[in-house]
């Protein structure tokens, strides 16, 4: 597909799919709790409602920052996800590479964080500091994992080159070498924290700090924040499935040529990844404390990612 067209149709597609993913996540979560759960389309209803609500900016907030940050967050994460999707769609990598995508996704959480702390609510401030520490905890291993990919595959961070590389190998990246398996494991371990779900939803803990930086957002702002979150979750799962575990190639050449099939395979896979890294932890685990989460991330994933980068630099 032409890159320009791919980039044009990506944003709406991303929005649609990520909201659908969120709906599926909520449904499965409910079913696992013996409940019926909301319909899969529930996130759409939520958004429609939120957009039709009144905008309120608290007087304690610095209005400009408070108002613009959710927009930036939503736009940035949408951009990141669309780059990713259009790369997969178009089969060329003119637009951006892995680092850019990762950066955009991180920036979307930073934007929300700043907006929340500008609300003037003490819980927003606590949420800010918690998110800050959480980001230091999970972003570092995550980035190291991504960089070790560059060492491992053809020395490129362009998403399409990585996919091509996997196709030429005939194996998903994670299965190609031990170092890449470690990198993939690190990435997946960092997913729950990046998506900030239980056990790592510390910055947004409802019963502790009432959603942290989201506390004062309501109506359209909240809708934008929700979009930012849903889209970046989807982008992360898609990233994991495209970069580390590109399964369509397992079905042979002729499948690869058919864009529809390989794309839907990719999506199904990211759905599975979402189930394993987001839905299951948030159903079966309890929330950790910030110190415990920090310890966890700087013990396991950091060591994994560093050993992955060492292994890959010696060519394993």
């Amino acid at each position: 597909m032409d890159a320009a067209i791919a980039f044009l149709i990506s944003p709406p597609a991303v929005l649609l799919i990520s909201l659908l993913f969120e709906g599926i996540d909520r449904k499965i979560h409910a079913r696992m709790q013996k409940r019926i759960g909301p319909p899969v389309t529930q996130p759409f209803y939520d958004l429609i409602k939120l957009f039709s609500k009144e905008r309120i900016v608290p007087i304690t907030a610095s209005a400009r920052v408070f108002e613009t940050m959710p927009m930036i967050a939503a736009a940035v994460s949408l951009l990141g996800a669309s780059i990713l999707l259009s790369n997969i769609l178009s089969g060329s990598s003119v637009i951006g590479d892995l680092i850019l995508v990762m950066y955009l996704l991180a920036m979307s959480s930073v934007a929300l964080m700043i907006g929340g702390s500008a609300s003037g609510n003490p819980y927003g401030v606590v949420g800010f500091s918690r998110k800050m520490s959480m980001m230091i905890a999970y972003e570092i291993p995550m980035f190291i994992a991504i960089i070790s990919v560059a060492f491992g595959s053809s020395p490129s961070l362009a998403i399409n080159n990585i996919i091509r590389f996997q196709i030429s190998l005939g194996l998903p990246l994670a299965a190609s070498r031990p170092s890449m398996a470690l990198a993939a494991a690190t990435f997946l371990l960092c997913m729950p924290a990046a998506a900030s779900v239980v056990p790592f939803d510390i910055p947004e803990a409802k019963t502790e700090i009432i959603y942290g930086f989201l506390i004062e957002y309501g109506g359209p702002y909240l809708a934008l924040a929700k979009i930012a979150k849903a889209v970046s979750n989807f982008a992360l799962t898609l990233l994991a499935s495209a970069v580390f575990l590109y399964v369509p190639l397992l079905l042979g050449e002729n499948v690869l040529l058919n864009l529809g099939i390989s794309l839907s395979l990719c999506l199904i896979e990211s759905l599975l990844i979402m189930f394993v890294t987001i839905t299951v932890p948030r159903t079966v685990l309890a929330r950790l404390k910030i110190g415990q989460a920090f310890k966890f991330y700087w013990m396991l994933p950091l060591i994994l990612s560093i050993s992955s980068i060492i292994l890959s630099s010696v060519g394993l």
Binding site: M32, Q33, K34, R35, P122, Y123, V125, V126, S129, R130, V198, P199, D201, I202, A205, K206, T207, E208, I209, I210, R282, T283, V284, L285, A286, R287, L288, K289, I290, G291, Q292
Partner: protein, 411 residues
């Protein structure tokens, strides 16, 4: 030049680095309003201040203007979780004043509902604990189990929450043999589920969150006069059911034991509650096995009994799910009350919160607060004292009616 760095922070520095966070009165972790003013440095709590009275409805003063039967239903509404404890305690005081001795069967039935209420309350709290640490699935499961107890309540008394079981001299509803069978069957089910809940509380992330947290040691527990599971979690062996048996507990003494734990942390308090559920199940089984026959109340017309209660005063104690509940009742001999005083277990326990919270993190507040199982609607009922005139106001029934009428007219 040698720069000497002081390791001690100055007062001012502390002032700068601390952030004051109001915890409540409206907060999703609290089902009831209380205001904890918490000062933190980073995540660490350095001071706690408490404000109560958000649920103060002036029940004691209202009770003094109503007759005994009306008061019975009023104090049932002090608390929706331990309503039966409140009425039992009140009724016991009345029965002592009027020297009315309820039949054996009535006492056993009272005890039955009492223990079912304890199971209900403990399960509810375990669910809330799970909710506070973000473990929604366990919360859902626990409350699902709790629904079964509510079903039983509904079968026996006709109501899920406010059972209205007690009446002066007995109970209002009888237990048929079919119901007894159902209760027994349910108890087996609940025992199984509670075992499962216990195993969920002992594993992985849950344990990490609640072990060695909010420690209240034995000496502090004694000094702060905590009661109920909070005290028993710190190794203090007190239980009104054993120490001053009431209702049918005298005969059931051998069927249960007092659960204590030494550690005094949140986990110990939780475990005490879990094992108390098993003890309650044992008591219920014993009650169903030995339920004596007989009538459940002396007379259909409660007003006639009410009239027979002379002037007098009495103190009564029961072991509510949260600990020792105390009532002081003074009647006027004409079917009304001169003074009612309620001392609830949460009132004794709340002060220990400060000891538990200081030094912990913000993330621990909800769990620790939940671990003493605060029931604030119980706690907040101080008598109204009109500050300007300096006397408490007592409203009689007539003026109450007048006020009600006026209120409706105004609308």
């Amino acid at each position: 030049m040698v720069v000497k760095r002081s390791t001690e922070r100055t007062e001012k520095e502390v002032e700068y680095t601390r952030l004051r966070i109001p915890f409540g009165p409206v907060h999703p972790a609290l089902k009831e309003p209380v205001l904890l003013r918490i000062s933190v440095r980073g995540e660490e709590i350095i001071d706690v201040d408490m404000t109560l009275g958000h649920v103060h409805r002036g029940i004691e003063s209202l009770a003094e203007g109503r007759n005994l039967i009306q008061t019975l239903y009023l104090i049932e509404r002090i608390c929706g979780i331990c309503s039966h404890s409140h009425t039992t305690c009140f009724i016991q005081a009345l029965e002592e004043i009027g020297s009315i001795i309820p039949s054996e069967r009535a006492l056993y039935l009272r005890t039955l509902i009492f223990e079912m209420e304890r199971i209900h309350s403990h399960l509810l709290l375990l669910g809330v604990m799970a909710y506070e640490i973000g473990f929604d699935t366990l919360f859902m499961f626990t409350w699902h189990v709790r629904e079964k107890i509510l079903d039983l309540f509904e079968k026996i008394t006709g109501n899920r929450i406010h059972h209205a079981m007690n009446t002066i001299g007995g109970v209002r509803w009888d237990l048929t043999s079919q119901m007894a069978g159902e209760v027994k069957a349910y108890m087996r089910e609940i025992e199984k589920s509670t075992k499962y809940i216990h195993s969920a509380f002992t594993d992985g992330t849950v344990e990490k969150r609640i072990c060695n947290l909010g420690v209240l040691d034995y000496n502090d527990a004694i000094k702060l006069c905590v009661v109920g599971p909070t005290a028993r979690g710190s190794g203090v062996n007190i239980d009104v059911r054993k120490d001053h048996p009431y209702a049918a507990y005298d005969e059931l003494k051998g069927d249960f034991s007092v659960i204590t734990r030494k550690d005094g942390d949140v986990y110990a308090r939780t475990e005490v509650r879990i094992f108390e559920v098993f003890e309650s199940i044992n008591i219920i089984k014993a009650i169903l096995d030995r339920l004596p026959n007989g009538s459940i109340r002396p007379e259909e017309n409660v007003f006639r009994i009410m009239k027979r209660i002379p002037e007098g005063e009495a103190v009564s104690l029961v072991e509510a799910p949260r600990g020792e509940l105390l009532y002081f009742v003074k009647t006027d001999g004409k079917g009304g009350l001169i003074r009612l005083k309620v001392r609830t277990p949460t009132f004794s326990n709340l002060l220990s919160l400060k000891r538990m919270l200081v030094g912990c993190e913000i993330a621990d507040i909800p769990v620790i607060v939940a671990s003493i199982d605060p029931c604030l609607s119980c706690t907040n009922r101080v008598t109204i004292i009109n500050q300007e005139k300096g006397k408490s106001k007592v409203i009689d029934m007539d003026s109450l009616r007048r006020m009600v009428r006026r209120k409706w007219m105004r609308r």
